[in-house]
């Protein structure tokens, strides 16, 4: 039987936790869904060998202590309509009905192709952090951390805390851009303090600005990376590479629902008004899905969405100026960590672009749109449904991603046959 909620919140990171807590504070019946096993999303992912940060513990406690929030972890959304979600949990299908929906789907990493990027041992940067927090044995391993953005320092610090030897951090942004970024940080004192703490935790680790990984080398697994540092190329022996070029909003569910997206950048984000309402009257969005801004804007926008979803407009309005300040950080990130054009040209003819289906760069030569490429080469047709290659191709300027169709995640056949979903409610 389909369950009904006043507000369903998709994603239990900082934005989703704040939204659920805010809506539940007005006595709404709330359902909070996440694909992961525990609350926290990516930024507050639990470390199995360390305590969560204080801010995260407070957010978890706030949600866990409310009896009017039902938590659905390890729950994957497969399809959606304007008043229902079809979800899968432990291979079982469920239909959840809603009056209001809050999309706090967060972001994934921007992973870009380069020769050797499919070798075992190459991770995303946030990917490496996530794996290590959940027990990946990293102690004693030599790791190169590369890519772009403030996340790199946090990743390197986590890996080092767990015993990795960080051989180098390669940030593609130039020293000049980084200085400008650091110079503007005083407006967000918490972030400035965080940056200083991370730099001290990473004392002694070589940090290169204007540096990026050109290729990964190894036989059956990663053995070394070739990095470009300024005008020089260098080989660094390592067991792992953690490389990510920033974050990309997870807009698939919003797209499927028909929410208007902002296509100004290379990767779309969800358009919202000042109440975090999307172009659909009963759907709100908060946090990274509205553009990459980090934890602080996510928390505030989540709260605004949670209040607004239950009609508590004054409580939502009270948070607007804080939201605008936190959001200014997005623009700073975007300008100061803009990608060096050479990074988009690293793939060679035989570099695999679609990792699920082993489609190489040269196999895509004749195609100028995602659909034709998919039909002819299977590019984007594998299990990740183009989340990795489609996003990379959009960043590389080849062609934009095609729109998603249900199921938006691979699902069991029995789930697709769930009788309650998209049937007319009594």
């Amino acid at each position: 039987m389909a369950e009904h909620y006043d507000v369903l919140v998709v994603g239990a990171g900082p934005a989703g936790l704040a939204a659920a807590d805010a809506a539940a504070g007005h006595c709404a019946r709330v359902g909070l869904l996440d694909a992961q096993a525990t609350l926290g999303g990516q930024v507050w992912r639990r470390d199995v060998r360390a305590e969560a940060p204080r801010m995260a513990r407070h957010a978890f406690h706030a949600v866990e202590s409310r009896t009017n929030i039902a938590r659905f972890t390890q729950t994957q959304i497969v399809a959606a309509t304007d008043n229902e979600l079809l979800v899968e949990q432990a291979a079982q299908a469920h239909t959840l009905r809603y009056d209001k929906l809050v999309l706090a789907c967060g972001a994934r990493e921007l992973l870009l192709p380069f020769p050797g990027w499919t070798l075992p041992g190459v991770f995303g940067a946030g990917g490496a952090q996530a794996l290590v927090k959940q027990g990946w044995p990293i102690a004693g391993k030599r790791v190169v951390v590369a890519g772009s953005g403030p996340l790199l320092l946090a990743v390197a610090a986590t890996l080092r805390k767990h015993g990795a030897s960080v051989a180098a951090i390669c940030e593609q942004a130039s020293a000049k851009q980084l200085a400008a970024f650091a110079g503007a940080l005083w407006r967000w004192p918490q972030k400035a303090a965080q940056a200083i703490a991370l730099r001290s935790a990473l004392a002694g680790v070589p940090y290169h600005a204007g540096a990026f990984v050109r290729a990964a080398h190894g036989d059956t697994q990663l053995r070394a990376v070739e990095v470009q540092i300024g005008k020089n190329r260098r080989r660094i022996d390592c067991d792992h590479l953690a490389v990510g070029y920033g974050l990309v909003p997870n807009v698939e569910l919003a797209q499927l629902l028909g929410c208007a997206l902002d296509h100004d950048g290379r990767h779309p984000c969800v358009e919202v008004d000042e109440d975090q309402r999307t172009s659909l009257a009963n759907v709100y969005a908060a946090g990274e899905v509205c553009g990459i801004g980090g934890r602080d804007s996510a928390r505030i926008e989540g709260a605004i969405a949670g209040h607004a979803a239950v009609g508590a407009t004054q409580a939502a309005q009270a948070l607007r100026s804080a939201q605008r300040h936190a959001r200014r950080f997005s623009a700073l990130l975007e300008t100061r960590f803009a990608l060096d054009a050479r990074i988009r040209e690293l793939a060679t003819d035989d570099t695999i672009i679609c990792r699920c289906e082993d489609v190489t760069w040269s196999a895509l030569n004749d195609f100028s749109d995602a659909r034709a490429a998919k039909l002819q080469t299977r590019c984007g047709m594998g299990a990740c449904q183009g989340r990795i290659c489609g996003t990379a191709l959009a960043e590389l300027g080849r062609f934009p991603r095609g729109g998603p169709r249900p199921p938006i995640f691979p699902a069991w056949l029995a789930t697709l046959a769930e009788a309650d979903f998209a049937s007319t409610p009594n």
């Binding site: 694909a35 992961q36 096993a37 525990t38 990516q42 639990r46 199995v48 060998r49 360390a50 305590e51 390890q74 291979a91 994934r108 990493e109 992973l111 499919t118 075992p120 041992g121 190459v122 991770f123 995303g124 946030g126 990917g127 490496a128 952090q129 996530a130 794996l131 959940q134 027990g135 990946w136 044995p137 805390k161 767990h162 059956t220 697994q221 695999i352 990792r355 699920c356 289906e357 082993d358 299977r378 047709m381 594998g382 299990a383 990740c384 989340r387 990795i388 691979p410």
Partner: protein
């Protein structure tokens, strides 16, 4: 850091391993091998995104194929096989 975390025992490709409570299957596998299955072209792959997006870490868990190792939490007595046949979808 808490180094006295409770441990869960499971098997990866027939090898007995222990992993902390709350650890991912991907982390348990890494104690035995860096590889998780193969792609259509025959190349070995391993976890990439760590957050359930890339599907590179699919393995067989307790007889069920195509489980994402990074999204699955270790359970006592679990049997994990990394040599899942390449498959589409």
């Amino acid at each position: 850091m808490n180094t006295t975390a409770k441990l869960v025992r499971l098997h990866v490709d027939g090898v007995a391993v222990e992993a902390p409570v709350g650890a991912s299957v991907a982390a348990a596998i890494a104690q035995v091998t860096l590889r998780c299955g193969r792609r259509p072209g025959g190349g070995a792959r391993a976890p990439l995104c760590g957050m359930g997006v890339c599907f590179e870490c699919r393995v067989r868990i307790d007889g069920i194929d195509h489980q994402r190792a990074c999204m699955t939490i270790v359970r006592e007595g679990m049997r994990v096989e990394t040599a899942m046949e390449p498959a589409h979808g």
